[in-house]
């Protein structure tokens, strides 16, 4: 079975934010929630690099490990999803996540934050595939339509890759061989306990 991953080629990412608005567009994510965002290091200085970040859908996801209500589950494609009907908005996953993926829709009195929201790899949630109920809670389910996450599909420079981990790793390796440099697949060791060269 395929193991879905994200890979951001920081030598290609130009911080155009297409991934961010594609995600908003596809999933109708409200203002204030950023399932995906672009982080720039050394902004304005030589060595400036950008990287597009969202839930990496980790192997042995730490969010799932700390969730007191066990709302997380991993699909057959190794996509980490969660059930908002179970989520109590405690925020443990936010502290556990190495990528800052979990988002909370509100700040209320007594620390209430609302149900957690995060990147679903465009695979929506536990409701029936591509039902109105699923869309309302989780957004689009492109995986069920046989498509990949829109953020990666629309990436302006094809820096952000999504798909079967082996395939995107081989695309990246080929790129690095062609051009002669590569900063590596950022976050892979943390998320998947391997690197592209492994």
């Amino acid at each position: 079975m395929a193991r879905m991953k994200f890979l951001c080629d920081s030598d290609r990412c130009i911080e155009c934010n297409a991934c961010v608005t594609a995600c908003k567009n596809e999933n109708e994510v409200p203002w204030g929630i950023n399932r995906r965002r672009v982080i720039t290091l050394n902004d304005g200085k030589p060595g400036e690099r950008s990287i597009s970040m969202a839930c990496m859908h980790c192997t042995d996801a730490p969010c799932a490990a700390v969730c007191p209500v066990s709302c997380f589950y991993t699909t057959a494609d190794a996509i980490v999803l969660h059930d908002k009907d179970l989520c109590i908005g405690c925020g443990y996953c936010f502290y556990a996540c190495p990528f800052g993926a979990p988002q909370f829709p509100k700040v209320g009195n007594f620390g209430g934050r609302g149900k957690m929201d995060k990147c679903t790899y465009c695979a929506a949630g536990p409701e029936q595939d591509n039902s109105a109920a699923e869309y309302a809670q989780y957004g689009a389910n492109r995986i069920a339509e046989g498509k990949l996450p829109l953020c990666a599909e629309m990436c302006s420079t094809k820096a952000l890759l999504a798909g079967d981990g082996d395939i995107i790793a081989s695309i990246y390796k080929e790129r690095v061989q062609t051009r002669g440099y590569g900063a590596g697949a950022w976050g892979w060791r943390t998320a998947y306990r391997e690197t592209v060269d492994a």
């Binding site: 155009c16 596809e26 409200p30 800052g100 509100k106 599909e153 051009r179």
Partner: protein
């Protein structure tokens, strides 16, 4: 639900501190802006307001039980021309899918392209016509609006003449819309018809046309994949044309190409360069001459190319000789070793391309800049072949097409100019008597005089009447698809706006024209549909035309550009003449029919072969084109044709010319898209030939230079009798008493073009490119300091040009530049401007898009760390940026960064809605205010115009910055 920042309130709440660690603690542009935004959200949360579940109640999710229609359109933002695939259900645009088949974007988008679906939902669109009555917006019907506007226009025409109306069109139009508006201005009787090209690439168009023959990108985005050396100078495609970077970075990776960025600012593009050269703003010509100095010194130039295809290179050498490395260092700040290295790479690791954008063009020396850039390409022989060329990235989606089709004060469609021959040609195409057309104008002289450009329309309102060479000052402005914050000297623009008797803003959004002045009456807002709501063709920067279909019907009460123009023509009383040759359904002219008329008349630019049928076929078969060569693959219905039939696409559609992927490419037969430099400046000058020597396009029967084709030339060559009887008859009718003078570009039979191509000859002739453009100011470009410069020590040696007149008005230069001596002390920082990836143009449309607005919530100024430290300015705080004219100032946030050098500041130009510290949100019609407002950079930009095109100077001026 959408939460927006409330006006004028402090934005530091609990959530912002909770989330502060999110970006990893580093300071970057978006981190500080995003935190500001979260503060806003936190503020709302205190009132007990949640953000709700993921999906707002009214959002359009795909219903998988219903059929989904897929429609192709083109992104309406920049000029790359990305195909947008829209999924539509029940007339609602419910989803956007990657357009994998497009050879241009291959499925991808930038932030703007990936969010265009929002446009047709349009929470903040203008929904119905409005007029201002004693300062209040009142709704009215379309019929009444057209009636009132038309009556007022006719009254102004009676009182002041047709030249007192300023017609402002748009680079967002389709080709058909742009052409129709130019035609409308002609039938109204004025040349005062302009659009955004004036303020973005007018200097490129004029400059490059005067060097090579045509004012356009010579190669294409895709072709950059072939380059081994790439210089990007005065451009930031990573933000302005992100999808173009796909091709640039692929070229860089596949060929291990050199990617050199020359810019005053370390841009996001520079972050990916192999070499970054920082220059002092406004010194482009010395940098180019500095490069050429090394090239000539070391003999790296392409001598054979220069001998065969370049005129005036010796004059260039004389100027370049003055730019010894020490002088270049003194003027530009670039060290000798670096410039020599770049020169060697560019001249020897070929093919090389030079990419430029508005950093080169928006200057008082814009036209000279682009000619210098072109000369660098000529000297190194980097033209007319894959991987080479002047890859000029145009700005808006159809700014190339709108320029080609004559939304320009100096020409009719297809660069025919405005002399009598040009008018007679177009009158024949339009099937109206020339004498009738003359009667529409105040005089034949004004009919042949360039109109008022958009950079200076307010001068033509405010100047004393005797200084403006037309019967009366401007009294009315009809702005269709154009923001109000796009021109420099905004304090004066607002005074001009307040003095106008009539202001009509026809746009999908109210634009800040509705809010920036204190007008109380005589203002109309007409809701227009976007290009996603109509059909037509648009021309991408690489000259490819793409046909698109409406995704949805015009939303709310909006109307298409076509219908607006028809209704206006009808009210103004010339619809019958104007639409004699165009099919109109109801009140809406049919796009296909307009394109066919363009095909008949726009011969000189080769807009004649792109029939609607051929363009539609290309859109259907996008997948059959090669991504590098853009050629249709063998065995497909588009075999051998270039994607989008980039102009020139010679002759009639039936001649099946494949379009010209690369201009001036002698390696191909003219029938396969080959070409030569255009012969448009005569055949000889001072005893030297202007025609090519020993260079010709493949398969040409004339193996040397030749002039443009006319009947006389055909006769001389003995090819005249190859014209058919019918062609001869049409030519005789056009020529009247002197048919020998009928040229390829006025021959409506297309016979001359046909015969020339049969012999392998290019209809426009085969000449040399010009290093010396003797008809322009500074025939060989020379350095001139900006009008406002901190380097007053250089003013004596490198002064601005002398004061002159142009475009019916006085054009000051040297006299204003003298002010630098007094103001440079109090305004020591050079101010430059540019684009952000999320927004476009004046920004009203993109700042109204919730998905984009969230990413950039504050107007800011980039200030160097040293300058900030001297002034006690901290990251993120409000500062005042003061300009040296009109006491202008803007209140913006400080972004302290090394991105700009010490003594340089940068502001993005997409913001509007604030005025010198005042938030003018309440002046917008209710419900149409953009989500994000901010100060306009142009509030503090200053006087300064290019002498050839009246391009404004927005890239170099002076300012002072202080904590607010």
């Amino acid at each position: 639900m959408l939460i927006k920042r409330s006006e004028g309130k402090a934005a530091r709440q609990r959530l912002s501190s909770t989330y502060q660690g999110l970006s990893g603690g580093g300071l970057d542009r978006r981190a500080f802006l995003r935190q500001a935004g979260l503060g806003g959200a936190g503020l709302a949360a205190l009132g007990g307001l949640g953000l709700g579940t993921v999906r707002p109640a009214a959002a359009g999710a795909t219903d998988f039980g219903q059929p989904v229609q897929r429609i192709k359109n083109i992104c309406t933002h920049c000029s790359v021309g990305c195909t947008v695939v829209a999924e539509v259900q029940n007339g609602v645009w419910v989803g956007q899918e990657p357009a994998w088949d497009s050879p241009i974007n291959r499925g991808t988008h930038c932030a703007k392209g990936a969010s265009v679906r929002e446009l047709t939902h349009g929470d903040r669109r203008l929904k119905y016509p409005l007029k201002l009555v004693d300062g209040q917006w009142q709704r009215l019907s379309w019929d009444q609006a057209i009636e009132e506007i038309g009556e007022k226009l006719l009254e102004i025409r009676r009182k002041s003449g047709p030249d007192s109306v300023f017609w402002l069109g748009s680079a967002k139009f389709s080709n058909e819309g742009a052409y129709l508006m130019r035609k409308l201005a002609a039938f109204w009787g004025t040349n005062t018809i302009d659009h955004q090209a004036r303020i973005c690439h007018s200097t490129t168009v004029a400059g490059v046309a005067n060097v090579f023959g045509y004012g356009a990108q010579t190669n294409s985005y895709n072709d950059i994949r072939n380059s081994r050396s790439i210089i990007i100078m005065g451009g930031n495609p990573a933000e302005a044309h992100p999808v173009a970077m796909q091709h640039v970075l692929s070229g860089k990776e596949m060929n291990r190409a050199n990617m050199i960025v020359i810019d005053p600012r370390f841009t996001r593009t520079a972050a990916h360069a192999t070499e970054y050269v920082r220059i002092r703003p406004g010194t482009d010509i010395p940098v180019i001459w500095g490069l050429l100095w090394h090239i000539f010194e070391n003999g790296w130039e392409d001598k054979e190319f220069i001998r065969q295809r370049v005129y005036g290179m010796d004059d260039v050498r004389r100027e370049v000789a003055k730019w010894h490395p020490a002088e270049v260092l003194r003027v530009t700040g670039v060290p000798e070793a670096q410039l020599k290295r770049v020169a060697q790479i560019f001249a020897t690791q070929k093919p090389s391309t030079l990419i430029w954008c508005m950093g080169a063009t928006q200057k008082t020396v814009g036209t000279a800049n682009v000619r210098a850039f072109s000369i660098l390409l000529m000297a190194t022989g980097n033209l007319g072949a894959p991987g080479t060329g002047a890859n000029i990235f145009r700005g808006h989606t159809n700014v190339q097409g709108a320029t080609d089709l004559g939304l320009d004060v100096t020409t009719l469609p297809a660069y025919y100019g405005i002399d009598e021959n040009a008018w007679r040609h177009w009158c024949r195409v339009w099937d109206v008597p020339y004498e009738w057309m003359v009667s529409r104008f105040a005089s034949k002289a004004l009919m042949e005089t360039p109109g008022i450009p958009t950079t200076r329309w307010f001068d033509a309102v405010l100047l004393p009447k005797e200084q403006v060479q037309q019967p009366d000052l401007l009294k009315a402005m009809i702005a269709v698809g154009h923001g109000g914050n796009t021109v420099s000297r905004m304090p004066e623009a607002i005074k001009g706006m307040e003095k106008l008797e009539l202001l009509v803003v026809a746009d999908p959004h109210p634009t800040n024209m509705s809010s920036m002045s204190d007008r109380r009456n005589g203002t109309y807002l007409l809701p227009m549909s976007t290009q996603f709501e109509c059909a037509g063709s648009r021309t991408a920067s690489n000259r490819s035309l793409q046909w698109y279909e409406p995704v949805v019907k015009p939303i709310f009460e909006s109307k298409t550009d076509y219908e607006l123009l028809y209704r206006l023509a009808e009210k103004l009383g010339f619809a019958q003449e104007m639409f004699k040759t165009i099919e109109v359904r109801g009140k809406e002219p049919v796009a296909e029919s307009i394109l066919r008329e363009i095909n008949r008349g726009a011969i000189s630019t080769g807009y004649s072969g792109q029939s609607p049928e051929r363009l539609k076929l290309h859109m259907q078969h996008q997948a059959d084109f090669d991504v590098v060569t853009l050629r249709g693959k063998a065995g497909t219905p588009v075999a051998g044709e270039t994607y989008g039939l980039p102009w020139p696409c010679w002759g009639t559609p039936e001649m099946k010319h494949p379009g010209s992927h690369i201009l001036y490419n002698t390696h191909l037969h003219v029938k396969e898209g080959g070409g030569t430099f255009r012969a448009r400046f005569g055949v000889e000058r001072n005893g030297q030939t202007l025609l090519a020597e020993g260079s010709y396009s493949k398969g040409s029967e004339i193996t040397d230079g030749y002039p443009e084709f006319t009947v006389a030339v055909l006769k001389k060559l003995g090819w005249y009798d190859e014209l058919t009887e019918r062609e001869k008859e049409i030519i005789a009718r056009i020529g009247g008493n002197d048919p020998d003078r009928v040229s390829w570009s006025t021959d409506l039979s297309f016979g001359i073009i046909r015969v020339a191509m049969e012999h392998g000859c290019v209809p426009y002739g085969n000449a040399k490119a010009r290093g010396n453009a003797w008809n322009l100011p500074d025939p060989v470009p020379v350095h001139r300091e900006p009008i406002y410069t901190p380097r007053t020590d250089l003013l004596a040696e490198y002064p601005a040009i002398d004061d002159r007149r142009g475009f019916r008005m006085p054009h000051l230069a040297k006299s204003v530049q003298l002010r630098s001596n007094t103001v440079a002390r109090s305004f020591p920082i050079v101010l430059t401007s540019g684009r952000l990836v999320e927004y476009e143009g004046g920004g009203e449309e993109t700042r109204s898009n919730k998905w984009l607005a969230e990413l950039q919530q504050d107007m800011f100024v980039e200030i160097n760390t040293a300058d900030a430290a001297e002034r006690g300015i901290r990251e993120g705080q409000f500062v005042w940026v003061d300009g040296p004219e009109n006491g202008a100032k803007v209140k913006v946030k400080a972004l302290v960064t090394e991105r700009v050098a010490k003594g340089v500041a940068f502001m993005p130009y997409h913001f509007g809605g604030w005025w010198q510290g005042e938030d003018r949100r309440r002046h917008y019609p209710p419900g149409t205010d953009p989500i994000v407002l901010g100060e306009s950079a142009n509030t503090v930009t200053t006087y300064g115009y290019d002498p050839v095109t009246a391009m404004q100077e927005t890239k170099v001026t002076l300012c002072q910055i202080r904590a607010a």
